[in-house]
Symmetry: none
Subunit: 307 residues, 2 copies
């Protein structure tokens, strides 16, 4: 397979880049493992302008349909490796063989940050989850805990309170952060109890999560009995795919970009959550804008290369 532009990632940045690329008549392919990326996991999106309220997956379906209506080619697949060749790149995929691409847009997003405590991986799917919309429904009338104190954690608690019997929100800070609407919704919700200045240090239970251990006492004990634990402490950029390409990143691993969304490697752009752009305010609308800027610059670049 050959293409002028390979867009890696099918979230807001990738879809929007594809929409613009189609409008510019750039021959391109979008490759992604999961439609919508992390945005697709949001149970409620209330701040994408023009769309008063949708679930993340509904909104991402709208993006996807928009992109597809303009003729973009989509592959549900995983990129294994990107190699520089002259000119362009050779991209190895899991199911579609090798794709030859003149330019690449990395719209690969971020993945959920982990607590980094023992048994966290072992307990995944056994009470521990990184996605309330995926797994929340399993905890009807149960007791759950949410870790974190920003938008993702606050909205997760509110969402879970609709089905769980009780929600503990455990936060290492003194005050919840993010949108005040979510903060108020948490603090005024009878089912949610916020435990501030506290960390989780251990996960307990036999085959299934039964309790968590806190680093200080709460109501006379370090142990808190819970059926589920939702970890909502932010995201980290994926590095595996780009490590060998020597793309410049900041100390946290976010890809450094120019104002044209170019990375330090010629022929590779980046857009969305994975970059240092948009003042690191990682939103659907900012990721989309970065995708648009990238596509516009890729169009100019391909033109200079005689496309």
């Amino acid at each position: 397979m050959e293409t002028d532009l390979l867009i890696i990632g099918a979230g807001p940045a990738g879809y929007t880049a594809s929409i613009y690329a189609s409008r510019y008549k750039i021959n391109h392919i979008v490759i992604g493992e999961l439609m919508g990326g992390q945005a697709g996991e949001a149970h409620k999106v209330c701040n994408f302008p023009g769309i008063t309220e949708k679930s993340g997956i509904e909104l991402m379906q709208m993006f996807s349909e928009h992109a597809k209506s303009l003729g973009a080619e989509f592959l549900t697949d995983k990129v294994i490796k990107i190699e520089k060749k002259e000119p362009g790149f050779s991209v190895e995929t899991s199911r579609n063989g090798t794709i030859s691409a003149k330019t690449i847009l990395l719209a690969i997003g971020t993945s959920h940050r982990k607590l980094g405590i023992e048994r966290e991986n072992e307990m995944l799917g056994k009470g521990v989850s990184y996605c309330v919309t995926c797994d929340g429904a399993f905890f009807k009338d149960k007791v759950v805990a949410v870790v974190g104190g920003s938008d993702a954690a606050n909205s997760a608690s509110v969402y879970l309170s609709q089905m769980a019997k009780k929600v503990y929100q455990i936060y290492r800070g003194e005050e919840l952060r993010g949108e005040s609407t979510w903060v108020n919704d948490v603090l005024s919700n009878d089912k949610i109890e916020v435990i501030f200045n506290t960390n989780i240090v251990e996960l307990g239970g036999k085959d299934q999560l039964e309790f968590i251990v806190l680093d200080r006492e709460y109501n006379g004990s370090n142990k808190l009995a819970v059926d589920g634990l939702f970890i909502e402490i932010g995201s980290a950029p994926g590095k595996a795919l780009i490590n060998h390409l020597e793309i410049k990143t900041d100390p946290e691993g976010y890809i450094e970009i120019t104002q044209e969304q170019r990375t330090s490697v010629e022929g590779i752009w980046a857009a969305g959550d994975v970059t240092t752009g948009s003042n690191k305010f990682r939103q659907i609308v900012t990721a989309s804008a970065e995708g648009a800027v990238a596509a516009s610059d890729i169009f100019k670049y391909l033109k200079t290369k005689g496309n």
Copy 2:
């Protein structure tokens, strides 16, 4: 009237900033003369992600309804003058007296530079357009003209050549300006014919543009039959409102911003087309993103000031 944040401008940047401000529970007012700003003029918007196709005004209505549903206060009014006072600003309006604002977001957009000939306003949307990406697709297999000789006009001609039967590019100068790539692309394109040293003096046609009149003969006639005319002689940021504030602008008058969308004057942010942001790729989605970033930073700023 008093407010923590006064958003000046009711286009994509202003609306999105208001949506985010409401979610942050920032007490704010949006003041604008015309709902939707320049975006509201587009006959068709096909590249705002998730919305496959809407008129500019329909899309802006969606933005407006979204913003209003979250409780924002809107004033259809004109700002006459902004004056610094300690703390904050005193803003004189045309109909609502003086508004006292702790912070200001300038989302005032730009306006299309016009040819300044008769019937130019009347023919808008009837063959005359200021936006190829918005309206180019309507001229499939038609004859169009582009006015101008710099990057915007050159890229407009190239873009239109992909769908139109014939593109005349009319330029008052002797030689196309801007990037050589674009210039070469124009000059080497069989569908594009550049008419140098020439101005358009009249627009002809009954209810729809049918021909343009040139100020000198071309191929034996002053009249040139065209179905569409794209005026690409640039945009200009409004300066009147900010001149006396000593806000730093680039040589073209666009407001210079930090990555937080802050201007050089403390307490004043800017977002959207009027800024130097988003690689100057002035789109609804980029303006929206800038509005979101600004609101998020204004929230932090007001917090540090004890709000």
